[in-house]
Symmetry: C3
Subunit: 343 residues, 3 copies
Amino acid sequence: MNSLYGRDLITTQEWKVDELERVLDLAFEFKEHRFDHPLRNCLDRRTFFMFFYNPSVRTRQSFECAATELGGHAQFLEPKSMRLKSAKTAGETVQDAANVMSRYACGIGIRILETAIEEYGQGDQLLREYAHYASVPVISMAHDRFHPCQGLADVMGMRMHAGRNLRGKKLLQVWAKGGLVRSWCSVQESILINTQMGMNVTLAYPEGYDLDPEVIQWCEDNAAISGGSFEIVHDLEEAYDGADFVYSRNWMSPHFYDYARRHGVDTAKKREIEMAMKHDEWITTKEWMAKTNDAFFIHCGPVDRGSEVTDEVVDGPRSIVYDIAENRLHVQKAIMALTMARV
Amino acid sequence: MNSLYGRDLITTQEWKVDELERVLDLAFEFKEHRFDHPLRNCLDRRTFFMFFYNPSVRTRQSFECAATELGGHAQFLEPKSMRLKSAKTAGETVQDAANVMSRYACGIGIRILETAIEEYGQGDQLLREYAHYASVPVISMAHDRFHPCQGLADVMGMRMHAGRNLRGKKLLQVWAKGGLVRSWCSVQESILINTQMGMNVTLAYPEGYDLDPEVIQWCEDNAAISGGSFEIVHDLEEAYDGADFVYSRNWMSPHFYDYARRHGVDTAKKREIEMAMKHDEWITTKEWMAKTNDAFFIHCGPVDRGSEVTDEVVDGPRSIVYDIAENRLHVQKAIMALTMARV
Amino acid sequence: MNSLYGRDLITTQEWKVDELERVLDLAFEFKEHRFDHPLRNCLDRRTFFMFFYNPSVRTRQSFECAATELGGHAQFLEPKSMRLKSAKTAGETVQDAANVMSRYACGIGIRILETAIEEYGQGDQLLREYAHYASVPVISMAHDRFHPCQGLADVMGMRMHAGRNLRGKKLLQVWAKGGLVRSWCSVQESILINTQMGMNVTLAYPEGYDLDPEVIQWCEDNAAISGGSFEIVHDLEEAYDGADFVYSRNWMSPHFYDYARRHGVDTAKKREIEMAMKHDEWITTKEWMAKTNDAFFIHCGPVDRGSEVTDEVVDGPRSIVYDIAENRLHVQKAIMALTMARV
């Protein structure tokens, strides 16, 4: 059995580079041999539980599709219809739920972020509690801190278009205005995995949009080890200059949860959107792209067109957003095969 | 590969008679060899997305069952839990959703009608927008204008009981009172496909229940080409006289959406039901059936007993409503096999 | 074909002991050979409908998993999104729904209890109405009166730990306080199946928590036939004394539905919880367990820790609650294989 069998995946930061490479290699194989790979039936009649504390389009579609393509079945579960114990109500503990689910399933995916939590870090904590009690792998399907499957899909997309060796290439991870008050997970995963992979990562955002300091520290450590680099800038000219990949994405300010607790979620969201929309320049346009090294445009989707990026760029010849969306399927199949099947 | 591979099915009106005949032939084969047909595994590990803008019993059951029986899997998706862009809110465009879904799935089914739309035609427009951007087949699972799978199931049911050649047989498509304010899709599909197939179609309804004039024009054109006939009557005696098949079904007046926009959906529904219930005679009874040519009773289901038809008729020996319901499965398997599998 | 093919399972009371033994034998085989049993694909591409009038964690997970592991697929259906006829609204009758579903599926599971009904017995009545009209097996997935799959899983769990022959062993079925206002189904099924199997069953509860008198009568009859015994006590010392198995579980008072009709469900629930919580001693503790014959602790789950049982007991070495939860999968696979597959 391979050494990844039984492993949780909460963030790529907790996996070694060569482990991530094994996922990526298998994902490329699955892309090449979508229905006829030797592992095509490796989850034959196995059940994967998907827990959606928050709704999702692509995550649900791609995970359920991934299980199906490996011969298994993904159950779509919404905890709102589950009687889990909380501070206020009686119900089942995570200990009991995770123990029982481990008897039925080959793995458990959990999505929890945005307004399903009350403060940053709570979702991550819940995943780790499930992982502690479950005897099968727990996979993040996006949570408040991380989004490992997206990070891997991004890398796969960049490699498809720029070759396997991304060392020395500049990735611009740039904040964008937008109306959807995004969690930090996709962005944090991106800067983590890409510094781990040896890229030169530039994180750009206007004042007031600092991310998790621990993640930032890890990115610096990653770059030091991998031979890549990591910098934070607040100037768009500097940001776009010479970039090989541009990944623009809105994210919420660090004050969102605190404000939401005090004033309610709707008010907090409205305020975030108003704040974000003031940063008029923070959208990826053809003009900004002209300053890059003919960069590819990447995005985790869904794209907030007109706020995060113009139609012209996202529909243009250097946009690889649909390929990256497709890669979610391939990397998730690879993760499931390696962690859940006895291969 | 067969010539239907990759085709959308929005209405049978847009398919040729010989294409519809291929679906029906394969559907009969699937009925005969439900689990042991050579194509029994033709969607092996493939994913079909079902988008339910409106809930449904039989459509969901029969489509999910159809995908399963072909070795694939149908994902049940409700757009209310998707963050699609609208005039008022940020979110993903149909362009992006359809492009990404085409990477995951072998086909997309969409159901949108009744109160999920604000005016007649909107659902049809949305399906066509999906079909435009998707690179996989888009199948109507009933929308405001059409219901092709129902139309095919109806024909299959009539053939099961009256033989393959229905030319010259009289089909009475008759409006009925009822408490469910039905959309026009099943009825319009029925009169379209059956005029295309060469039947003598009589559409009967009380004043005030005109259907889509474009559909009516197509029915007339179909009859002229096929050698069948098409007439509209408002008199029940004339309607039932000599019919070989009676299909009674409630439908909403052409003013429903307009009224709903001005007075709210609940008020509009209440008004429709009140209006409909005044037409006391417009229910298929044993007495009316006695005026026919020992007609079979057909219906798309679910049956509104006591309003659309009496128990006596729908439970009687000439009722073929359960067979028609079963046929939904067979024709949908045939459609999926022909449009989505490389057969 | 085996003689259980086509049979409904509403309660184990309606099956003979040797029929239940066949289920248990096959369940043990499925446990031993989870993915490589000769019947591993016996529901190949078949559809099982699961109707959840009430949400559930483990029942949904274990049934959907069971169908998957037999090569089939379980459709998760919530009647709230179905247009079924009721006293107040137009819609499809159970007769029509059951007839049509029988054309699509190899079996139908129904869960209806707690606040989905308005008086005790209504759920049972609905199951029997479905069973009457359906031509495929109807299986209770827990309803107001019975929970046959749980009863079988309990027996399987006891046998795993105490050997196949449970005759003469004392099972204490004891009421517990709790915050979840439980239905009677699991408890009634337990005392029915275990008196049928020849155990010495002691039912213990404080005054005011009488169960269904008809069920109590059946338990007495069962014990007389099987050579086991059945007694009701209201004293905890007497209850725990010498028990080989302790199964503590909260249940609602017989007045719940009546009160809920008059004062609303929320008020009735609050009152039940307040009443229950006064019975401070009615929780399974280490101290009570010390009075038993080193009893195993069993429970149908989800466990209401701190009310029904202390952490110390449920996490202790004699607790077999996770095994029993796992057994739900094995017994349900056995039931489905025997009633729905042509084996």
